[in-house]
Structure formats: C-alpha cells, structure tokens
Amino acid sequence: MSTAGLLVAATLLLPLAMTALCVISAFRARALSLLVLAPIPALMAALWAPEGTLVFFPAPFRMTLTLDRPGALLLGGAALLWSAAGAFAAAYMAGKPRTAGFAIWWLLTLAGSLGTFVVADIASFYLVYGLVSLAAFGLIAHEQTARAQHAGTVYVVLALVGEACLLLAFVMLAAGSPEANPLIRDVVAKLPSSPMRDGIVALLILGFALKMGLVPLHVWLPLAHPAAPMPASAVLSGVVVKAGVIGLIRFLPFDSGLPGWGAVLMLVGIVTAYYGVIVGVTQLRAKTILAYSTVSQMGLLAVLLGISLGEGDPGGVNLVAYYGVHHTLVKGGLFLAVGIVAATGGARLRPVLLLTAILALSLGGLPLTSGALAKLATKPTLGYGALGMAMSVAAAGSTLLMLHFIATVAGDARGNAETVAPASEVVPWLVVALAALVVPWSLYPAVSGDPALSALQPDAIWKLVWPMALGGVAMLLLRRFRAVSGSIPEGDILVLAERCGPAVRRLGVGVEHLDAGLRRWPVAGLLLLCIAIALAGSLIAWR
C-alpha cells in the first residue's frame, strides 16, 4: 500500500483505533485532549494524496476507499473543522462531567463523518453513514436536558427512517449487480438503465435530504444542532450535514443526468433556501438561527446539485463541494464564535464581534470573503435568468438572517462580565476563521477556472453587493415588526406532526388490547386450529 493509500486508510482507522483504545481507562481519561489529533491523517490525505487513490482492505473487511476531487475538497474542510473543534472541545469540556463518553461519541461520529467522504463501495458507505448518523445521537443528547432528550429522540427517529430509505435504495441498486458489494460508481453508472430507477432515485433523495435537512425533512436540525455542546454543534452543523451532500454527489448519476429529478431537487432546494431564512428570522436563540441558516444553505447546495443532475454535468459537483467547504468552515467558525462571545466581555468583545460579523456576512456573500468567492463561482451555473435572480434574492435573505444573528449575539453578550475567553478556545476559533477566509481563495482558480483576482472586478463586486444591501434594508424593515420574533417554535412543522402523538399512542394501546385478547388461552387455541386447517386446506385446494 502506498503512502497515500495509508493516509486514506488512516483517515478511518485512526479515529476507530482511538475509540477502541478508550477501553483503557488511562487513555479514556486523556481522550478529550487527543481529539485534535484524530482527523490529522484525513487532513494530510486531503492535501497530499493524489486524486484517484484506491485502497482495498483485505477480506473479510470488504471495504474499498477512494479519494476523488469533491471527496478530497470536503474531506479537507471537514478534517480541519473537526481538528479545530476538537481542540476547542478539549478546552470547553474540560472539567465537565462525562467527558469520556463525549470523547467516544465524538470519535465515532468523526470516523463516520470522514469515512463518508472516502469510501467507495456500497456496504461500507452504508456502514460509515450509519455510524455518523447514530453516533451523532450521543453528541446531541449529551447534555441530558429535557431539550436535548427531545431533540435526540426526534433525531434518532428521523435518522432511522433515513437509514431505512437508503438501505432499500442501496439494495435495489446492488440487486442488478453480479457482485454482492459493488463499487458505488459501478452501480451508479448502470442506474439510469435500471428498471427501478425512479424508485431508487426517490429513495436516495429522501434519505440524503433527511441528513441535509431539506424542507420538509429539516425538522430535526434546528432542534438537534443547538442542543449539543458548543463544539459539537459546530461539527454537526458544519460537517455532519455534508454526509447527505456527499451521498447525493456519489449516488446520483451526474454523468448521464436525469432532468426530471434534477428539477425536483432544484425546486426543493429553492423552497428550502427561502424557508430557512423566513423561519430563521423569527428565532430568538443564536444557535437556532445558525441551524436555520444551515437549512437555507443546504437548500442552495440542493439547487446546485439539481442543476448538475438535470444537465448531466459531472463537473458541477466540484462546485458543490467547493461551496460545501466554504459552508463547513464558516458555519463551524460561527458556532465556535457563539461560545467565544458568551465567554468574552468588556473591551475584548468588540474585535470578537467584528470577526464574528465578517464570518456571518460571508454567508451572505460579503466581498473578499469565501462567501463572495463561492457565490461568484456558482453564478455561471445558476445563470442570469430567473434562477440566478432567485438565488441572489436568497443571498439577500442570508444576509438578513446573518444580520439577525449578529444582532442576537451582540444582544446576548451585552451583560457579559469583564472576562476573556481562554486562549485554548480562541486559538482554534481563529484557525477556523482564518481558514474560512483564506482556503477558498487558494481553491478558487481550480474550481471556477478564473484567476482569483477576477473576484475583485467591480462588476463581480456589484453582483454581490446589491443582494447584501437588499438584505440590510430587509433587516431594517424586520426591526419594525417585533411581533415576528419568536412567533415560530423551533422545529416549526414538527409541532404539527407531534399533534399526532395521541393518535399514535391510542394505536399503541389498541395493539396492547389486541395482544391481551390474542393471548387468552381459548383464543390462541382456536387460532392454532385455524392455522392448521388453513395450512392443510390451502394444499388441498391446490390439488
């Protein structure tokens, strides 16, 4: 195995090995401080492993890893955030109870999350996807408050539903393949000609949209992301949702294209992009606002994916990955910022808030930031017609939402005591923030095909500024309507779904009654005779 191969393999193996080492109590006690190291091989692999590296694990592990362009992009961004958030967690969680358990769930989620970017075969994808989905429960429910419990429950239910959809889709995909565990790209190549194509694609979109948080499957996200401890929120909202993105990138047939399904994805994406903003501005808690912002941003990614799928443009996924990296770093940085701001007061507050604001507005496309680059890079794809306009307005919405976020954070920090956040928290945050601002510049030429300086042209800047101005105006208007704030509960339509609770409970009670009836001796005896007669009778009838 080459060095590159080893690096790719270590991406998955190091966090798993660290989890296993937690059996030793001495290691367990220090696990928290070592979290920062776990994603290092992934980072190195993303930086140095050549594209197309393939790694085969020996039997009986039936696992194949690969590194392609979008995978490497997302892997790099994710690894960076995981590492920085790990360092942040070491400081943030220190002294709190149950850190060992937190570290174990963290490592498992990390392994699964990074794994989704590199595995190449179907069974392993399901494995790592299941790992990231279920281990995240441990992070969400970690604080054990009533909110966290509720969020965890909702999350698990939906995650399991998503898993079931994907399992069925994967089985249908693999059913036509001679191999029991084929490579993803092989089965996806045959997908357009599969007789079960539409069913498979529908299930895939359903399963992955659940993870991304596309409307109306987003309900868990505004509950779950804020419920976790600060660093965990950062990775959940920054990285874990990308498991859905990489899933769609890997499993949809971008080479041949599916116009109908592309349109569906695009439509869902537009609705999600606006929906996230509209509900987000009514929210009162900073972390919840960020979560709704994630919903909105994932809608944007879905639009990009939909266009690529509709046009059969495999290059489009690189753009998606690029936008994903930008969102990973910025959103991670913002969640950490909430933690930093909460721990900062007095004179230090101002620079902290300034950096937070820059990061936040980056999501709206603030010139010179990664958001600007991401928006510019996607402009040609979105076009300049109605769709492009719609997305520009969505960017205005993002600006509005982020202004709302800044206002909320600043308001929360007003009463802070004169304190300084510890350096061990500030440094990781600065690293993420810096990376969020710098890394996209280095990737821009490769992804967009334009030199980086083209982003500084006046017309490019104008394309970015007018939506932001629009967002600013909207913010002013919003301030007038105070009734709006807090009018929609977290998880919005989930509240409607939970109205069905009593009905479900009644069904459960009904099942219990039926069970009690069936388990009475004479009833069971009669049923036994019925079954015997039915078995004998069915055969006689056939004769």
Binding site: V509, E512, H513, D515, A516, G517, R519, R520, W521, P522, G525, L526, L529
Partner: protein, 115 residues
C-alpha cells in the same frame, strides 16, 4: 375406501373423534386439571390412529406392524411424563395461590394481564 366394519378403520375413526373431543376439552375448559385430562384423551385418540395404522400393516406373520406399536408405547410414556410434570406444577401453583386456573379472578381483557 376401507370398510368401516374393519376394526382398524373403526378404531381409527374413533381416534379421530377422540382427537376432536380432546382438543375441544383442552381449548374450552378453564380448569387446568380438566385440560390435563383433555390432553390425555387427545393423546389416546392419536395413539388409536397409530394403532389403526399398525393393524392395517399386519403381515409377515405379525398381527400388526410392530413399529407404530412400539411408537405408541414410547408415546404413552412421554405423555405420562407430561401429565406428571403438569400435575406437579398445578399442585404447586395451587399451594402458592389457591387457584387451579391460569385465568386471574379479575375480568378478562385487561392489557398486560396474564390471561
């Protein structure tokens, strides 16, 4: 179609009827002791069917096929073991609860109740 006057067929049919009566007793009767007796009637019916089969298989100088006859003997022993075990459990249950039924005294149909 065998003649009914043939003892094998006649006792076979008797066995069939005994199976029905035994099943009825076992299923319908709430008293555990009566159910145990019902099991024995059911078993007797089954053994009679074995006996009818054995009688039909007479040949080679034997008045019946010895294999099913031996099976009946084994079966009777097993059935007796079952009866003995059930009776002992019934007695213990009675000693502990004063009941000789599995149904609780409360009205039936309560969820979670051991009916």
């Amino acid at each position: 179609m065998s003649s009914i006057s043939n003892p094998a067929t006649l006792f076979g049919l008797c066995g069939a009827a005994l199976v029905g009566i035994g099943l009825f007793t076992v299923i319908v009767h709430p008293g555990l002791l009566r159910r145990i007796v019902g099991f024995n009637i059911l078993g007797a019916g089954i053994f009679l069917i074995f006996g009818a089969v054995a009688r039909r298989g007479a040949g080679a100088g034997f008045e019946g096929d010895p294999v099913p006859q031996a099976m009946v003997i084994t079966g009777i022993v097993v059935a007796f073991s079952a009866t003995a075990l059930a009776v002992a459990m019934l007695q213990r249950l009675f000693d502990l609860t004063g009941r000789a039924t599995l149904e609780p005294p409360a009205p039936e149909g309560r969820p979670g109740s051991e009916t």
